[in-house]
Every structure is written in C-alpha cells, then in structure tokens.
Symmetry: none
Subunit: 182 residues, 4 copies
Amino acid sequence: MTTKAKRRYEPDRRDRIIDSALDVIAQYGVAGTTHRRVAEAADVPLGAMTYYFKGMEELLQEAFARLADTMSSQLRTTLEAVKTKEQARQAIIDWACSEMWKSKRNLILAFELTAFAAREPSLRPQLERWMGISEGYLSQHFGKSTAKVLDAFVDGVVMHNIMSSNHITRDEVTEFVQKLTA
Amino acid sequence: MTTKAKRRYEPDRRDRIIDSALDVIAQYGVAGTTHRRVAEAADVPLGAMTYYFKGMEELLQEAFARLADTMSSQLRTTLEAVKTKEQARQAIIDWACSEMWKSKRNLILAFELTAFAAREPSLRPQLERWMGISEGYLSQHFGKSTAKVLDAFVDGVVMHNIMSSNHITRDEVTEFVQKLTA
Amino acid sequence: MTTKAKRRYEPDRRDRIIDSALDVIAQYGVAGTTHRRVAEAADVPLGAMTYYFKGMEELLQEAFARLADTMSSQLRTTLEAVKTKEQARQAIIDWACSEMWKSKRNLILAFELTAFAAREPSLRPQLERWMGISEGYLSQHFGKSTAKVLDAFVDGVVMHNIMSSNHITRDEVTEFVQKLTA
Amino acid sequence: MTTKAKRRYEPDRRDRIIDSALDVIAQYGVAGTTHRRVAEAADVPLGAMTYYFKGMEELLQEAFARLADTMSSQLRTTLEAVKTKEQARQAIIDWACSEMWKSKRNLILAFELTAFAAREPSLRPQLERWMGISEGYLSQHFGKSTAKVLDAFVDGVVMHNIMSSNHITRDEVTEFVQKLTA
DNA sequence: GATGAATGAGGGTTCATTCAT
DNA sequence: GATGAATGAACCCTCATTCAT
C-alpha cells in the first residue's frame, strides 16, 4: 500500500550496485563516491551496501574490475575475428576510433581506474591483462615490437582525442598505422 | 626534543603547501587528499590550509596548475633547443623515455589530474595548453598531422610503459619514430 | 562505573534533544548553542544531532516552535475555562502572575525567541499565532481594543517583573486590570 | 599610492567600532556577530578589535551599554520637560508611539540586549537603571503603583506593536492611559 | 536474509586571539 | 601605538560502518 514497493527476490542486486558505482564514479570521481550516492543510484537501501560488499574498497575494486572486463571483452570482440594482417590493421583502427570513446564516460572511468590501480596493487593484474590483450592478438600478425607499439599508439590516440580538441581523424590514424606496419 | 618550533614569517609557505598537496595526491589520490594530511605533509598548522587557500577546491586547482606548469616547462626545455628535423626526432624520443616517467609519481599525478580536469572545467584550458605544447614545436619540423600523431604516440608510450611491465625500449621508440616521420 | 551504556531504540530521542536544546539556549543563548552542548545535555552522541535534524537551523526552529506551543497551550488552558467577564479578568491576572514567569528560563527563552524570529521569517507565523491567542479569548468578553491592550499590558507586566527588581504585585495588577476593563 | 589609504590619528575609532557592533548585532544577532564582521562594518583592521577591546565579551558589553544609554537619554529627553500631570500623560504616549520603534532595528536590539543581559549580570545595573527612568519621572505625577504600571504598559505596547501585525493605535493608547491615570 | 536507525571518527571551515613587526 | 599574518580550538556536518530487529 505504500508508495515505495518492497523489493525482494532480486537476484542481481549486487550487479546493479556495481554498475551504479561506475556511474557515480564517472560523475563524481572516486573522491566523491559514497555509499549513499551509490545506494541511491542503484535504488537499494543503504544497508545493502555493506551487506553485499565488505566495504567501500571492495566495491571500488569490483567496479573497476568490471570496467576492465567490459572494455577487454569489447576489445576482444573487435579483434578476434581477425584473420589477415589487413583485417588486423582495420580492427585496430576501428578500436582507436570506436564509438566507445565518444562518450567521455568511459575515458573518465579509464583514467580514474588507472590512477586507482596505481595505488591498489590488487587491480594491477587485471589491468595488465587488459593491456596485454591487443598485444596478444596483434603479435599474431606483426612482430612483437610492432604489436607493443601499435597498442601504445592506439592508447595515445584515444587519450589525445579526448583531452584535446585538436582531433586526430580516422584518415590520419589509418595513414600512420600503415606506416607503422609497413 | 623535537618541540614544536614557533613558525612565523616563513615566506613561500604557500608554495610548500602546494608541493605537499601534490605529494599527498600522488600517495592517496584526490579522493584521499585532506586538509589534515596536506598540513602534516607540509608541516604547517591545520588552520593554515584555509588561511592560504579559500578552500580545498582552490588548493587542488593550484596544485594541478603547478603540475601542468612543471611538466610543460620540462617539455619545453627538451624541445626548444631543437633546430633540425633530426633533433626534433631525438627530442621527442628523449621525452618519451625521460627520467620523469621513471618515478610513478608524475604519471599518477597526470592521471589524477586528467580525471579531475574532466570534471573541473576550470582546469581544461591549462590541460589543453599543456597538451598543445609538443604539437606546437613538432609542427615546425613535420606536418600538422605528423605532429599530432607523434604527440599521441609519445603519450601512449609513456602510459604503456608505466601501466604494463612489457616495456617499450628506447630502440623500439626510435625505430617507430623514424617510420612515422619518414 | 558509569560506563557508556549502549543506547539504541530509544523512542522520543528527538523530543529529548529539542528539550535539551531549549535548556541550552536558556543557559547560553542562541549564540552559545552548539551541537556539542545540546548533545551532551541530551546525553546523545554528537552524530545524532544531524541525524535527527537536517542542521542547526532546523533544530532551533523546532525548539522555538515547541516553546511557542508549550506557552500557547498553557495560556489556552488558563483562558479556555472562562465563561464570564469576571473570570476573564481573573484569568488574565493569573497569567500575568503565573508561576511560569517565576523562573527566568521561560522569559529568557521568550526573548531569545523573539529576537531570533525577527531574523527568521519562517518563525513569524508561529509567533503571531501565539500573540494572537489571548486576544482571541479576551475579545469574547471585552471590546477588541480592550483585548489588544490587556494583552499588551500583561506582556509588559511580565517583562517588567523579570527585568526590574521593583516588582508589580498581584494586587496592583488586579487594580489596573479593573480600571482597564471598567 | 595604494588605493587603501592608511588610517591614522583617528580619535574615535573605538566609538565607531561600538556603533558598528550594534549594526552587526541588529543584522545577524549576537550569535552571528564576529570580530571580522564588525571590523569590516567599521572599516578598521581586524587587529584593531582586540586592540581596543579585551575580547568579544567586552565589545558586546560596551555595545549594549551604549544602546541602553542612547535609549535612556532619548526617554529622558521626552520626559524631562514634563511639568504637569497632563504633560506626563502626553509624554508617555509619545514614547509608546515614538518613531524609535518604527524601525525594527531598535526593538531587535532591545530583545537581544535583554536576553544577553539576563546572562551577563554585569549589564543588569544598566538595564535596571534604564527601566527605572520612566518610573522615576512618572512617580512625580502619579502614585508609585501607577508609575510602575504605566511603565510596564508602555513596554507592553511597544512589544506588541512590533511583534504583532494587529497594531494598537495612538488613540487606543491614549484612551487607556487616561483610564490608568484617572 | 535484509534493513535502516544509530554512531563516532574525521571531514572542511571559521574565528577569536596572539604576537612579531 | 597599531597591524595583519598566523594559529589551533571548536564549529557544523558527512559518512562508512555496525547491529538490533
């Protein structure tokens, strides 16, 4: 009878909380992320926060872990269909210019994650694995050096395009990927 | 015997506080940066924090402004002696492999800054100016596209080398800078 | 042995806090009323203050609202049994010489309230309602002018008797109420 | 050469500070009266506050003392020309309806003062003297009882007229003063 | 299992006051 | 004498966390 329906039998509350945590981090930064804000964003009672997570730390770690997972799998999806060197070039260009980076949300999260991971050793493996993905795929088609460098190049382009208003176009990316992999 | 010395008439305390703030940010992140921690790091009384700065916001902004300034001027120093295209190549390689990035401190700060600036529009200009420096110098020797891309490449290398344990060597950087600027 | 008892599930804590707030205001003035002092007076943890009240402002407003309520209802009790003009005279005299004003507490609070209300428009309605009560009752037995004036007279007597040591006696009050209502 | 002229040889700075203190009290209440606000209102350096006054307490006391003085002397001026009983009646009516009470400033100050004096015994004598003034003059023309009561009546009228929007008119005051002094 | 009322540590900030100049 | 830079105590308030239900 009350306006606020009781909320029971909700299997993936934990998941929803994690997603909401990422939203809150994107909006307020890790600095401004509080149990209260996340609870409200996820529409769960405050008590649920420490019921599902041992503490703020655990929540942040899981949130960033999920972020890394999500991005990794997107990247993987882009890369795993690759058969030829030319497809590899195309895939890496696609990724650099992906829609994913059009919204600032993901990049902000990536920066927050990076800064956070630098202080939270437990996140390092996840981060390294993520960063290793493209190298893994790329090294099937190019040398190891080229793979590393291509990877770094893409990261740089993404960062550059978000931070600066002087964008690098798809054509420019294409041109230089050609040069790097000639 | 370390009694609390009276501490008056100390010029450039403001400066010391800003430096300490950067130290604290590097260690605890913006999230964990508090007046109390900074005050202790700078060895000034708590009251000094809001005496010298209108509030936490102002302190963070000035800290990041200084960071941007410091890095900018280092970068400028590296680049301004450049006369020939070959020197430009060398300078950019030097910068990518600079000692500056050996300590995680600066990179962590750069990430915190970036994430913070994304939410603090007042920091954007400073950040953009910083990011534009190398492009400015590089475009005197290469085309505009190449300048942008070189810049992104260097950022990517730096980031890659900090985040991943699979480092890109100086030789590799050199090789690919050659290719990009051929 | 006065260890700090655990103190949960205590109904009407909010009420006790409000009462304690009035005590503190009476003793230290609004100027000297702090969360800490009230918390100690009410024997509740400091955190309870802003848990039960959005802020100091809300606490003060509720405290003064209660004061007005309490006094209003006492006044009403005194007046509502009145049937005849003579009873009305008696009631107003009773009120002027009421025990309520023997303790300075209530008068001090009344002054603090008045001064506070002058700057806090949200309290005005409550204050006006309070001031209108006796007029309402009195005007059933005397003219409107007389009601207003009787009201003012009583307020003046009360104030005078608290502030000055040269008291107005009950007999004197009686005599002049007779003259005013003759 | 600076825009802010040095301020020297200013004989009555202390006085100006006291006046400004009353302004600040009227605007913010004793609760909101700080050295900084008074210093700004008086346009004196902050350091002057504790140079001229031992502390906030002393400042408040002197401010309220001056308030009492000012009001007393105005009252005295109104009353001292009185020769006949009729003039005394007129004078007291004038005072009750005086312009002084038209501005809320003075009444607010009076309330703040009263509340403050109740807690600051050192102000009591001043307050009693003030309250005794009109009685002194009035008792030359009426009986002691009547004098006391007239005094209280006037105070009540003033208070009523400020606090309530249901004003007592001059005619009504006149009518009841006649009754009280018949 | 799940909740939300309750707590107290610690946050940013203000301010009366001190004291070297 | 007069100042204002400097201090630290105390302010209000937020929040992660606990625990009785």
